[in-house]
């Protein structure tokens, strides 16, 4: 099943199960979704539940929050999370903080979803990864699915969750197809928020990644396996809360850690994982933690520069050279 179909089926099932769930965003209705994620939903549920909004992120994100305050369960789609910056006041100040400010009286069961991170050649203003920024905020839950099973299970969990959830998808993953189990296709399937998944077991080095980078990490681990290095790949799934328990347990087993992300390196997700591992598992580390992240530049347009600005397989190999000095002549 492709990630696109997985997301579509999750939206369909949750909207069918609970009439209070509705979808709003730009082009979600008649255009069938800017990336066709909401295909068919307008025909099935009508314009009252699948709302095409004008281009006003601050306005419609705020309207979603207000609807959630007063009892509905909105799903607000941002055409890309770059546009969420126009609505970030509502995501943080009126959604994330409200349950706390009202001392539990007003919870906000809203989902903000959309593609996050770099696509292909879309330039600096359409390519930023927001996992780190949203992951820093108390009151938010931040999810980043990788496979179709992740997409289905986490989106359903997000929609059913009584708190605001930021759901970071990836445009380049939408068309990718993954095997999916019968259990995952069941309409009650749900993944727990806050639990990472060990995609590949290993014993020499732990690699943490989320979203598209999980695919890269798995490919890199195959290359490493040929060299005799067994890598354990952790698919974070949940940026906030971060499953530090799983990460630390893995590091205590392998003694080495590489964090991978597409976003900017400073104050990134990798920085948080690194700090957490040093705090909790310092004596287990045989080498410093290595962070692999996007280049510390706004995303360039030229295709070759863009390739250099996001992690490539070669950067993995460099990373592993640093962390796993068993074969120094690889570098």
């Amino acid at each position: 099943m492709t990630v696109r179909d997985a997301l579509n089926s999750a939206l369909d099932e949750e909207m069918s199960a609970d009439p209070k769930v509705f979808l709003m965003g730009e082009e979600v209705g008649e255009y069938q979704g800017a990336y066709k994620i909401s295909k068919g939903l307008l025909e099935k549920y009508g314009p009252d539940r699948v709302l095409d909004t004008p281009i006003t992120e601050a306005g419609f994100a705020g309207i979603g929050v207000g609807a959630a305050y007063y009892g509905l369960r909105p799903i607000v789609e941002f055409m890309t999370f770059n546009f969420s910056m126009q609505a970030i006041d509502h995501i943080i100040n009126s959604a994330a903080k409200s349950n706390y400010m009202s001392a539990g009286q007003i919870n906000v069961p809203i989902v903000f979803r959309g593609p996050n991170g770099a696509a292909a050649g879309v330039g600096a203003q359409h390519s930023q990864c927001y996992a780190a920024w949203f992951g820093a905020c108390p009151g938010l839950k931040v999810l980043a699915p990788y496979s179709s099973e992740d997409a289905r299970g986490l989106l359903k969990a997000a929609i059913r969750d009584p708190d605001p959830v930021v759901f970071l998808e990836n445009e380049l993953l939408y068309g990718e197809s993954f095997p999916i189990s019968a259990e995952a296709l069941d309409s009650s399937f749900c993944l727990p928020i806050g639990k990472a998944k060990i995609e590949r077991e290993g014993k020499d080095v732990t690699i943490t990644a989320f979203s598209k980078m999980v695919g890269y990490a798995l490919k890199a681990s195959e290359i490493l396996a040929k060299e005799g290095i067994s890598a354990e790949v952790i698919n974070l799934r949940s940026i906030r809360p971060l499953d530090t328990a799983t990460i630390n347990a893995s590091v205590r087993k392998t003694n080495r850690l590489v964090t991978v992300e597409e976003g900017f390196p400073q104050h990134g997700v990798g920085a948080e994982i690194c700090a957490s591992v040093i705090e909790e598992s310092f004596i287990y580390l045989d080498a410093p933690v290595e962070r692999i992240a996007g280049a510390d530049v706004p995303m360039p347009y030229a295709a070759n520069l863009e390739r250099m600005a996001v992690p490539q397989h070669s950067s993995f190999e460099l990373g592993f050279c640093v962390v796993v000095p068993t074969k120094p002549n690889q570098c």
Partner: protein, 436 residues
């Protein structure tokens, strides 16, 4: 279309609720604009126009007849007080509400200077007519969304004075258990949906609540759901993008909302006239197909009449209204504001139009109540406010465990601890430090 929009046309007369209302006579027609007879055009010179209404002798001469809807009211002969806008009960309710607002805010100032209250405190003195005029017409299920100047909106909506005072003192008995503070008054029970610090932030939230009301009626088929939302905000907010975004969407989807502008002419130290290309805010409604009304916000009866029509419109499903209330805040922007930029003559002009004095005069002159009855109310409110202070003073501060409570409705959002179980499942979780 454009010709009609620029021509000034007299509005249709507003019939009072004691007469038979024609359900088809829409007062607020978006294609017609409503004239205003006086608007302070300059901060230096105030044009003090004389009231020229034939009914002027029934009102205090210090109250300006700005809204023609009130001037046009036709008398009826089947009520005991044919020309009056309110009954005695309504008048006493309004008076009590305004006195509560005023006394409460004055007490807040006292408590602030004594150190019991802290942070940012924005007082509402002078604007009580808007809160009382609008909110007293609402049902409990209707929603109010406000700004940081929200104490009196919460009080008018029914949040007990002791709960608001405790919240301001930061005590655990406050309406938000001390976690919100002056600028973030929330009450689910009374449908006060905040209290927002950023100007313009409350407007989309209010529009969303109105959206929910319409959704419940049309999608969830709760046929009797006619809940209305009021969004209160100021003149400075009317230059903010979110205001215009929501005027557009509220009109587009015909949401049951009333946008109430409390135009007190000043945004901290920035005069409305220095900040706005066209200072007549009510005009911004018709640009989106929403009726725009300008009303004298220092006269609670005029506010109430405009509010009645706007709220009824919304309840009937006819969509939003923009009501600009010309009002004034007697104190500075906040208790930390030295208030040096406003002219003394401007302050004196509005002090003479104190809404409480005006209502008192109206009620006494029209034999709706005696001075003694009003004094009884004032004394009662004094006691309520004193009791609120005592209650707040004697209430405990929040316990240590409260720091980590209510971040999430589902506290599994704090994630899984080192022992592999959800942190919130540990019974001692909230007694720990903030480091999770």
């Amino acid at each position: 279309m454009s010709a009609a929009a620029t021509k000034i046309i007299q509005p249709l007369p507003l019939n009072s609720t004691t007469t038979n209302r024609s359900p088809h006579k829409a007062l607020f027609n978006p294609l017609k604009t409503i004239p205003i007879s006086s608007f302070p055009a300059s901060t230096r010179k105030l044009r003090l126009t004389k009231p020229n209404s034939p009914h002027a002798r029934r009102r205090s001469t210090s109250v300006f007849a700005v809204s023609d809807v009130v001037q046009e009211k036709k008398p009826t002969f089947n009520t005991f007080f044919p020309n009056l806008l309110i009954t005695k009960e309504e008048g006493l309710e309004l008076y009590e509400d305004m006195i509560l607002g005023r006394s409460f805010e004055d007490m807040c100032a006292q408590m602030y200077y004594r150190g019991k209250m802290f942070g940012f405190v924005h007082l509402y003195n002078g604007q009580e007519a808007v809160s009382a005029g609008f909110i007293k017409l609402l049902k409990n299920e209707d929603c109010v969304v406000s700004t940081y100047r929200d104490h009196v909106h919460a009080l008018s909506k029914g949040v007990p004075a002791r709960a608001v005072m405790s919240e301001l003192f930061g005590k655990t008995t406050g309406c938000c258990r001390g976690q919100g503070g002056s600028m973030h008054m929330f009450s689910k029970e009374h449908n006060v949906l905040g209290g927002f610090a950023f100007i313009g932030e409350g407007i989309p939230v209010a529009t969303g609540a109105a959206f929910t009301s319409k959704y419940r009626r049309e999608v969830l088929k709760e046929g009797d759901c006619d809940h209305v939302t009021l969004a209160f905000f100021g003149d400075g907010t009317c230059n903010n993008g979110q205001f215009f975004e929501c005027l557009n969407m509220a009109a587009l989807w015909k949401l049951p909302i009333v946008f109430v502008v409390e135009n007190n002419l000043w945004a901290i130290g920035m005069s409305h006239l220095r900040a706005t290309s066209d200072p007549q805010i009510w005009k911004k409604g018709p640009a989106f197909g929403i009726p725009g009304v300008h009303v004298d916000g220092m006269d609670v009866l005029k506010v109430r009449e405009a509010a009645k029509e706007a709220i009824t419109r919304a309840r009937r499903g006819e969509g939003p209204t923009l009501v600009e209330c010309e009002t004034y805040r007697f104190r500075g922007h906040s208790l930390a504001d030295p208030d040096e930029l406003r002219d003394a003559s401007e302050k004196a002009h509005y002090a003479a139009r104190d809404p409480i004095t005006a209502l008192k005069k109206y009620m006494v002159e029209n034999n709706l109540a005696s001075e003694a009855e009003l004094k009884v109310i004032e004394k009662k409110i004094d006691e309520v406010v004193e009791e609120a202070v005592e209650f707040a003073d004697s209430s405990p501060l929040p316990g240590r465990s409260q720091l980590l409570e209510n971040v999430f409705a589902d506290p599994r959002g704090f994630g899984i601890g080192p022992d592999g179980k959800y942190r919130c499942e540990d019974p001692k979780f909230t007694e720990g430090t903030a480091h999770v």
